[in-house]
Symmetry: C2
Subunit: 136 residues, 2 copies
């Protein structure tokens, strides 16, 4: 499912440093809609924990049967969260016999990392003097 | 507002390569809750566009009066979205006279980029052979 959905978020050469996007130019509406879907999928603690369990697994893939026991949630709830991560292009899966196995789609996390990376050499601003009077 | 909230997401030495987190070890529940708040703030197209307009602005800050005209939304709605970005630690602001001025908190986007960056040298897996039968 993943390749076509990945392309809309930036150039497709796979280099995380390639894709300015978020920090160097205003996003257009279409880019923002696509990208927001992926961040929304990450905007839940259970999904973040699932993603980190899948991404950090030695061997690169995890049986759903090994994910569920870590949560005080039903199997259908876990499956729903996994489906949202998969629809966002962050993970993919394959059924083998009784169980479904999940793995990270590193091209998507690479792309997000690239989108959130400032241009090389862009210094951190010193806001110490001006931020004291922050208002809403 | 930002420094105390930033620390919970990882080490505080400011090096994006330092903070494995999401991809190299399972997140604990507390880390996941904190991090999900930030991604949730990014999970909306209007907020992503606002953030990109603020982050990419020459001079580093934007008057709210220059943000509102880009959207077909009321000033209070824009202010609400800006408040959510600010609460997430992604931007900060200061009132000067009539207007509020916003700027990026690059330490937070650096941290997110670091969290989403794979360990150096971690190759992309070849899933071509196994992903054809992907199931839900």
């Amino acid at each position: 499912m993943s390749n076509q959905e990945l392309v809309v978020l930036g150039q497709d050469d796979g280099d995380p440093a390639c894709c300015p996007g978020l920090l160097t130019a205003p996003l257009d509406e279409g880019q923002a809609v696509e990208l927001a879907k992926v961040f929304k999928a990450l905007g839940d603690p259970v999904r973040l924990r699932l993603l980190s369990m899948i991404a950090s697994r030695a061997g690169g893939e995890v049986c759903v049967c090994d994910l569920t026991p870590a949560f005080d949630l039903s199997q259908p709830t876990i499956s729903h969260h996994l489906k949202l991560l998969r629809q966002a292009g962050l993970i993919d899966c394959e059924r083998r016999g009784t169980w479904v196995y999940y793995w990270l789609v590193p091209e998507m996390t690479d792309r997000l990392a690239g989108i959130l990376t400032r241009p090389a050499g862009d210094p951190l601003p010193d806001r110490t003097a001006t931020s004291a009077g922050a208002a809403s």
